[in-house]
């Protein structure tokens, strides 16, 4: 029986070790404490990542880059009384992390990602004299700024690029999980395709997950096999499968013209021969903008801050040099950017709006 107990203890130590390992982050903030306390308190800002982590090549990373830039521009140091981040290991960490940062007296705390909506709402109610901001979701509290993006404008431009690249007039769209954000991507993309090439068809399919690369691969395999030659994904990790499939097909038959379009950040490194462009979401710019406003005392608490092309909140990554009509696409995309910025064209953000949309 003694042996058995040792075994239990061993398993427990293993399990506890991994769990506790996750809590290791907090000690580097305490070191800074003694230095910063004496000076007059400068503006400080911090963010809580969602489970994606600070280098997820997506919006967490982008937000952190924004904070770093804001810090550099304003002579802030990383750490307390400057700018900092806390990484969430699971959904249960959100409230705790937000609370910790608010108690460390950061002037503004960002919650990154719609997963944090509930936590931001809860902590904002408890810490009424602190300012919070949430990305990709709405929280109706007087001390919370909600940052939303006009994803449809970025994906509209991606749609224009796709329509001008396709030769088969068949284009694919892979969505992650159906919801308001991905619907904006879908509506904008379809509108862009129709605007540039009315007779092109868009095959729309949802994977039902953001983290299942094999689903992305099977869906794109189906789309390419049924004649589509450009496929756009708004599906996070599921979209990795799209690039794998496109790269595979290209490797097998280098003469075949197939393209994939990335999302959120410039995904050109996922396949230099197959990535046409990416629909960008500039979380960094939005984070910088809100931080600036808060610093100047114009914090848009209780409001929704909407970032589109005009605010530099979304955009399109450079078109791949290997596309034969790159110059034409660039010209067309720039024309549309002007039209959207000036308000002459309003890009639809839902399927209902798409029905009544006309580009002319």
């Amino acid at each position: 029986m003694k042996k058995r107990k040792i075994g239990m203890a061993l398993s427990l130590v293993l399990a506890a070790g991994t769990l506790l390992g996750a809590c290791g982050k907090s000690d580097d903030t305490s070191k800074e404490e003694s230095k910063g306390g004496e000076k007059e308190k400068a503006f400080s800002v911090a963010m809580v990542t969602d489970v994606g982590g600070v280098d997820d090549k997506s919006f967490n990373q982008s937000a952190w880059e924004g904070l770093k830039k804001f810090g550099a521009d304003n002579g802030l140091k990383k750490g307390k009384d400057g700018f900092d981040y806390v990484q969430s290991k699971s959904d249960a960490d959100y409230s705790t992390n937000l609370n910790t940062l608010a108690r460390q007296d950061f002037d503004l705390v960002f919650g990154i990602g719609f997963l944090m909506q509930g936590a931001v709402d809860e902590i904002a109610k408890q810490q009424k004299d602190h300012q919070f901001a949430i990305v990709d979701s709405e929280v109706d509290q007087p001390n919370v700024a909600s940052i939303l993006f006009k994803e449809q404008e970025a994906s509209f431009l991606a749609g224009v690029a796709a329509a001008m690249t396709t030769k088969s007039n068949k284009i694919g769209f892979i969505g992650g999980v159906e919801g308001a954000v991905i619907e904006r991507f879908e509506a904008g993309f379809v509108a862009g395709v129709k605007a540039a090439k009315p007779d092109a068809v868009v095959d729309i399919q949802y994977a039902g997950a953001f983290d299942k690369a094999e689903l992305g691969q099977s869906i794109s395999s189906k789309m390419y096999a049924s004649g589509a030659d450009v496929v756009f994904h708004a599906a996070g990790g599921t979209g990795v499968g799209l690039f794998k499939e496109a790269n595979d097909l290209k490797k097998k038959d280098p003469s075949r013209e197939i393209w994939a379009i990335g999302v959120d950040s410039d995904q050109a490194n996922m396949g230099p021969d197959v990535v046409l462009t990416s629909a960008l979401k500039r979380v960094d710019n939005a984070v910088i903008d809100i931080s600036k406003k808060a610093k100047d005392g114009n914090f848009p608490g209780g409001e929704v801050a909407l970032y589109g092309l005009a605010e530099d909140g979304v955009g399109l990554a450079p078109i791949n040099d290997k596309v034969s009509n790159k110059a034409d696409i660039d010209t067309a995309v720039n024309e549309w950017i002007e039209k959207i910025k000036s308000g002459a064209v309003k890009v639809p953000g839902t399927r209902d709006e798409l029905k009544t949309f006309s580009a002319k």
């Binding site: 075994g7 061993l10 398993s11 689903l215 189906k222 990790g237 794998k244 097998k252 490194n269």
Partner: protein, 319 residues
């Protein structure tokens, strides 16, 4: 879309999806047949995926197009070594198998992500340049009809998985080693009286399952995701366990179950393009694989009995 076109998409993607599950489920069979529950398959896949990707990224210059295959071997060794932890805890120290397996799962994710951070200083690795990609199998691809469906635009690993499943069936059911392995899992005391070293057999079972789990992870990472991140292996290990139970702890059954899972998944994807399924709202197609699995499990399989001594400890001399 014609039937031919549909099959040409469904079959390769079914096999692609099934291959890592087949390998991992085979691993589970070795472990459970020897009497050790291995819920840590997921973690072993993580370790396999991690070591395969790191090896691939590091040595792709040296080994060229052989890299993914060698990476599989490396992942196999890594998985085997990692599973020793489970073996030591569950067999020598008689810890609860489930607890120790869960520890393996937690430890592997934490450890590999920590190492990724340490080696590459970011949260996920780069994309590998030489993974398993689509091939037409020579000779077989020219068989009329069948060649087009089964042997074009497919992956070598899918066929390797099928061949290995047959080999494992032979080993488990037709060799003295297999008989000993099974006897240890069914009735360790009887096996012990016949002079079989129960501890040794169980260690072997767990380590072999680690090796297969590693292969499964390596195949998944190199044929589907192409990089390693926290979401690379998300539940495939548990799917493999389900396949193993679904297949009644039988290698060929597990293979069939894995292929069935893959098939259900592909059908849910292609369904939206099929004339007679087009009208169904997509959410029903998305849940179809799980519904099909439940129906198959409850309706057609009948009782699935685990090896009798699975999950119990064998203490020499006790009754």
């Amino acid at each position: 879309m014609s039937l031919m076109e549909i099959l040409m998409i469904v079959v390769p993607s079914t096999l692609l999806w099934a291959a890592p599950l087949v390998f991992t489920a085979l691993g589970g069979i070795f472990s459970e047949r020897s009497g050790v529950v291995n819920i840590g398959l997921e973690g072993l896949m993580v370790v396999g995926a991690f070591s395969a990707i790191v090896f691939n990224l590091t040595f792709v210059e040296t080994f060229g197009s052989w890299t993914p295959w060698i990476a599989i071997l490396v992942a196999m060794v890594a998985g085997a070594i990692f599973s020793i932890l489970h073996a030591v805890a569950a067999i020598t120290f008689r810890a609860d198998h489930t607890v120790s397996g869960v520890a393996i799962n937690l430890l592997s994710t934490g450890l590999t992500l920590f190492l990724v951070k340490l080696i590459y200083d970011k949260g996920e690795t780069n994309i590998i340049s030489k993974g398993f990609s689509k091939v037409d199998i020579p000779l077989l691809k020219d068989i009329p009809i069948i060649g087009k469906i089964f042997f074009q635009n497919t992956y070598w690993t899918s066929f390797l998985a099928i061949v290995v499943a047959i080999i494992v069936w032979y080993i488990v059911f037709k060799t003295p080693f297999g008989l000993r392995l099974r006897s240890v899992g069914e009735h360790p005391m009887a096996a012990d009286t016949m002079g079989i070293n129960v501890t040794k057999m169980r260690y072997l079972g767990v380590i072999i399952s680690g090796a297969f789990g590693g292969i499964g992870g390596a195949v998944y990472a190199q044929s589907i995701t192409s990089n390693f991140s926290h979401s690379t292996i998300s539940g495939q290990g548990f799917m493999a366990m389900a396949a193993m139970i679904f297949g009644k702890w039988h290698p060929l059954g597990a293979m069939g179950a894995a292929i069935f899972f893959g098939f259900a998944q592909s059908i849910s994807i292609i369904g939206s393009s099929l004339p007679f399924l087009k009208e169904i709202p997509s959410v029903y197609l998305l849940i179809a694989p799980y519904v099909l699995t439940i129906i198959a499990l409850t309706g057609f399989i009948g009782r699935a009995d685990a090896p009798k001594a699975s999950g119990t400890h064998y203490i020499k001399g006790s009754r």
